[in-house]
Amino acid sequence: MGAANFRGGVHPEHRKELTASLAITAATIPRKVVIPLQQHIGAPCEPLVKVGDAVKVGQMIGDSEAFVSAPVHASISGTVAAIEPYNHPLGRKVTAIIIEGDGRDEWCSELEPVEKVDDLSPEEIRARIRSAGIVGLGGAAFPAHVKLSPPEGKAIDTVIINGAECEPYLTADHRLMLERPEDIVFGLEVIMKALGAGRGIIGIEDNKPDALRVMRQAIEGKSDMSVVALKTKYPQGAEKMLILATTRRRVPSGGLPLDVGVVNHNVGTTVAIAEAVRKGKPLIERVVTVTGEGVKRPANLMVRLGTLAGDLLEYCGGLREDTCKLIMGGPMMGLAQPTADFPVVKGTSGILALTAEEAAVYENGSCIRCASCVKACPINLVPTFIAQAAEHGLFDRAEKLHAADCIECGCCSYICPAGIPLTQWIRIAKAEVLARRRR
Amino acid sequence: MKNSYLADITRGIFKENPTFRLVLGMCPTLAVTVLVKNGLGMGLAVVAVLTCSNIVISSLRRFIPEQVRIPCYIVIIATFVSIVEMVLQAFVPSLYAALGVFVPLIVVNCIILGRAEAFAGKQPVLRSLCDGIGSGLGFTLGLLLLSLVREVFGNGTLLAETNYAVQLFGPNFEPMRLLAQPAGAFLVLGLLLALTNIVFKRLQIE
């Protein structure tokens, strides 16, 4: 049997060799952190502290009443210097709590550590995960406890841990699998328990044989878990593609994984869940791959949330002269940043500095109808037609062509020989179509 | 006042040229323009019908009830077309044969009904006469241009099948036969249209 696969996708250069062999090291604890009150999908948090308050590491400093939300915690000890709007990597200013550190790194612990999962009920697990402020660390930043609370009548039988890490350059998840396999297995157990799921699958792209080996060893003796080798192809880590590849189930258009009895979590999230449940540790740090030809010393770093990207890049030796693009996330779906003055948030899997040589230039040439985008689209759309409709403002036509189903993976733009920024056009169409539906 | 008569004539030839500006009466334009002789013949036949029907419709405009005006117009036009058909058949049978079914089809040539509806049904007789002549000549001009291109390059002749026939090129010339085919008619008309679009744009700018 070959590696698990899906239809479509592209094969961008991996460029993971820059950091794949570098073990995760802790970055220095910053003097100042900026903690946005919204680092997740859902309702923003209200601050629980005032300017001038002293805070300790792990202290909850923002929370919300809403179910779909996640609290935020202080990631260093010190004083709250300001609560004001600050640059957010998603592109707008968001109210953030700015903490000046005292350099002492004093921890506060509100949760009791547990040694055995069996001691906790599903409700307790969910409560711990929520209060730890855990969200999807793969980038989507969807609150983890919400995913673990399926609505009535939706039975979940399978939990998939996403270790595909199909984005080029990024190696954070890869390193976690090599270095923290027990945490991942423990986290998976916890998730399965919370959902009452009988099957756990860890999906890993087959360009990471060492991770496959380590994880296979880690699950030895656990009959309800399996490690699946995935064909190396972008976007193998996209929710729908991963579920199709590992279980042959198709998430219906407009539906969620739980519609096919599946919940999936990223490797990083799983580790965070393990730590929250076992040690009571809130989400105050995460692994960030700082890489790209523009970075002088690429690294996989354990970074306190709220650390400014500029400080992190400084720690990695600074940027090269010919850096032309700074990206939060991977090169396929990440967001280009105008400055390095933005904090690491829960969804920051990587900080990428690309030189002019690596970064693509899209010039919006004439479509030659080569159908590369049609072949590449994992969702079976006809990207060039949607883009064309969007370009001419024909949003009815774009809707008929299923613009709203686009997962914005970027395959079509990547593969287009004419250099048309198809994904960008489709995003415009998708936004318009969704806006019209709401109206 | 005189100026307005002249304007009625020139408007049909240039500004509202049926072929190039209004894109009307395309069927005969494309079909009969293989030779200049046919194009010219068709053009003049339309001038005759258009002028006569314009005069009659204009002079009867107060007596034709609004609701049945279209059938009335059609009967008037059909009458003149029948007359022209018989005249052609009697005096220039070769032309009549060449134009074929397109002679009776002048009835449904949208230029004629269009002028009746837009102009002759509302305007006095003299002006309608001028309008008829103008639009008719404009149409003839279109046919002439198209048939000129098609005959010269598609056949290598000028005014073939008439007493003034000229062989334009030497014996080694191989004419572009395509232009004499239906596809050639579409092609040349399309190109001429684009060309007039360019010319008119330039004129309007200056």
Partner: protein, 323 residues
Amino acid sequence: MNGKLVISSSPHVRTIQSVQSIMIDVLIALGPVALVAVLLFGKQALITMAVGMGAAMLTEALWLRRWNIFGDGSAAVTGLLLAMTLPANVPWWIPVIGAAAAIIIGKQLYGGIGQNIFNPALVGRAILVFSWGSRLSGKIWPVPKPFHFFADISAVTTATPLAGEAEAMEVSLSQLLIGNMAGCLGETSAIALIFGAFWLFYKGHIDWRIPGGYLATVWIMGTLLGGGIYINPYMTGLFHLLTGGVLLGALFMATDMVTSPVTPSGKLIFGVGCGLITMLIRLYGAYPEGVTFAILTMNALTPLIDKFTIPRKFGEVKRLVRP
């Protein structure tokens, strides 16, 4: 770090493939065919192809007022493909007019690369066929003189194998494969055509569906009707595959990206349609060859095919697959 950071929408990396690289791949794929044509028909083949390519590139450069004669390479492909559909002994002005018509009428009037509805090379060829038909698709074709580069190939002529029963009987299978027979430059050698097409398949520039649908339809119709009750026993399915422009058309013309459907099922429909029309014309029409008309007709139907074959989107299922 100097200068400003560039802000743009993701993705931030891109394939190295470009329109130009695709066109160069097509030219490479046409290499073997061109080589065989020169070996068979000598200098006249070389002149015809060079003139066709040159005229096409020059016309496009003049139209676009561009100094770079090669540009994205699409004009060179059009010119070469047009020359491939001509016999070796045409006068020089035939490829010149054909290439100019192909570029202007077939392509630039529609707005240039990617915008045209019809395959430009075939538009050029169709215009030539109906203007100077006796020059390029008459009954009399030059006979190849292999390896005689300077020979005058117009001296000895014959009919194409497609002309009728007697002519079909005269060619052997090896002749059909190697191309040592009367025909257009790019139509004679089946081996060279298939060899070249492999490069395009390897590079992923052509989808199997168009040539597959085309060739299968021709073979099936040829076997059922060509060698059966109609016309003659020598014109079998294989004969129809290897003669005339079927291979050139199916592998290089019908697969033209711009003028064929983009959807997978659309491509198959397109291929089958081309095959059907080609064989209808060959078996029942007035012309011995139908490839040009078949592909042009299907080009016209491409927007409709595209419109009605939009693939089913991911997860578009009524019933959920649950274990």
